[in-house]
């Protein structure tokens, strides 16, 4: 199959960017979207042109590196998967596909489709961990945790920090990411010690990074590759409120 691409090209953070037309031919429908971009880059290199910069690592939906906005939807229209998990069979021969980077002030663009998501790391450094000694592997079984709580914590912990929630949010808010990272510990005994300060500090860092506020559009949940529920945002607000009252 063949597809036409419109890809955002931008030489550097401050350079002007624009959509550039490309055509990729003889694609195997079982190839992944990123393999299709690899193929494009091979031809560009052969022609002596600058290849399209895009990010990827695991290519199996676990590292969260590969986010692209495809035809206006972060991680494409399939839902519940990362960009690297998209297969070309989802498209029709001759389709025109627009590919853009994640756009947010807090995710400054580095080149073409690559953005700097280290704002997430700085948020994590404010409390996305437990400082208490959680023991080693066998200790996990010594503290019984109710199945429902373990499941809820696991659902929130599934966040891979890809940033699609920010990219999709009309306000460029990081609420789903931060909501998931705060919520995941609330069901677990290890998370109780820093529970209040975690909520306050991570929210504070989120705002400091320049993400927008949330308007509850829930567009984030729709694009999240791990289908994390916006109920985690609601939970973040409860945690925040409790911490605020406990502190003052």
């Amino acid at each position: 199959m063949n597809v036409n691409l419109k890809i955002w090209r931008q030489a550097g953070p401050d350079a002007p960017g624009k959509l550039v037309d490309y055509r990729v031919e003889d694609i195997d429908p079982s190839q992944s979207f990123l393999e299709m971009l690899d193929k494009l880059n091979e031809t560009l290199v052969k022609k002596g042109q600058e290849p399209v910069a895009f990010e990827s690592d695991c290519r199996e939906g676990i590292c969260g590196n590969c986010g692209l906005v495809i035809n206006g939807i972060a991680h494409g229209s399939k839902g519940g998967c990362t960009t690297c998990e998209i297969r070309m069979r989802q498209y029709n021969d001759g389709d025109t596909i627009t590919v853009e980077p994640f756009r947010a002030k807090a995710f400054p663009l580095i080149k073409d489709l690559v953005v700097n998501r280290s704002a997430f790391d700085r948020i994590m450094s404010k409390g996305g961990y437990v400082a208490v000694n959680a023991g080693s592997a066998q200790d996990a079984n010594l503290q019984p945790i109710h199945k429902d709580k373990a499941e809820a914590a696991m659902d929130a912990a599934a966040c891979i920090g890809c940033g699609a929630c920010v990219a999709a949010c009309p306000n460029a808010s990081a609420s789903l990411f931060v909501g998931a990272k705060i919520s995941q510990f609330t069901w677990l005994p290890q998370g109780q010690v820093e529970r209040g300060s975690r909520a306050l500090k991570m929210v504070k860092q989120m705002d400091h990074e320049g993400f927008g506020d949330c308007s509850n559009h829930a567009e984030c949940e729709a694009v999240c590759p791990k289908e994390i529920s916006i109920a985690n945002i609601s939970r973040m607000r409860r945690e925040f409120t409790k911490a605020l009252f406990a502190r003052s």
Binding site: G72, A168, P170, A172, C214, N216, E219, S234, R238
Partner: protein, 259 residues
């Protein structure tokens, strides 16, 4: 403590505020609608209701309610518009192509234009208050109550306003359409904003919020429309009759201060 200038405190705090004030305003609307529906019971009951509001707890109730409402409005508008402001700053370069993702997304025309529907509501509320609250009561005329005091004939004010001018009815119809739009997203969103949702309740609250938005808008709009269409039933010159000793009325009018 809470420092509104501190950006670290304000984003979630502002959401709590938008949601809490928004929900309170919805609560006010529900009470306001129930009160308005007494108009269907005729001039006696409606005027008694208006008098009741103004004299309940020696007039303290209405004064506290008015100041409270004004404060909630100001807080709501401030926090809601600052959410919108943050959004403009947070994405300096826009997408060339931007599509709704569908699925669990609650993004809609209503959710995207909250600031515009809100600001239109603000204009409506100002016009509405000027017309009814700060109306020239002498021009409307007063009525004599059975205990001898003169009172404003609010029934006449309302009925004659809507019967006089179809443009006015139309203005209310449009405003209620905008209210509906604001609340289609607003009610569920406010519950989410104050953190009262769970995974299992979100779909229900979203649907129920839209149903309540439609019910409120239709309820408020029905009154001007019916008053305009049913001239026979709603007579601006109808004189309230407090002589019948109607039980509900007697208890309401008992709040009237002695002349």
């Amino acid at each position: 403590m809470i420092n509104l200038k501190d950006p670290g405190i304000s984003s979630v705090f502002k959401k709590l505020l938008t949601g809490f004030t928004g929900l309170s305003l919805v609560g006010f609307l529900i009470a306001h609608l129930i009160g308005n529906l007494t108009l269907f019971a005729g001039p006696d009951v409606f005027n008694a209701y208006a008098r009741f509001l103004h004299h309940f707890m020696h007039g303290m109730f209405i004064r506290v309610a008015e100041v409270g409402l004004l404060a909630f409005f100001v807080l709501h508008i401030w926090s809601a518009l600052s959410v919108q402001y943050s959004k403009r700053k947070a994405r300096p370069s826009q997408y060339e192509v931007n599509t709704y993702a569908g699925g669990p997304s609650k993004r809609s025309f209503h959710s995207m234009y909250m600031a515009i529907s809100g600001l239109i509501l603000l204009v409506f509320i100002i016009v509405h208050l000027i017309h009814f609250k700060y109306a020239d009561h002498d021009a409307v005329g007063t009525m004599k109550l059975e205990n001898g005091i003169e009172a404003v004939n609010v029934y006449k004010l309302v009925v004659s306003s809507f019967q006089g001018n179809f443009g006015y009815v139309l203005f209310y119809m449009l405003a209620m359409g905008v209210l509906c739009s604001h609340l289609m997203h607003g009610i569920w969103s406010a519950i989410q904003s104050v953190g009262l949702t769970r995974p299992s309740t979100i779909p229900f609250l979203h649907t129920a919020g839209m149903a309540l938005a439609i019910a409120l808008a239709v309820g408020f709009f029905l009154l001007p429309l019916l008053i305009f269409m049913m001239r026979g039933t709603f007579d601006p010159e109808a004189v309230p009759d407090y002589s019948s000793g109607h039980a509900a009325l007697t208890s309401l009018t008992s709040f009237f201060p002695a002349a």
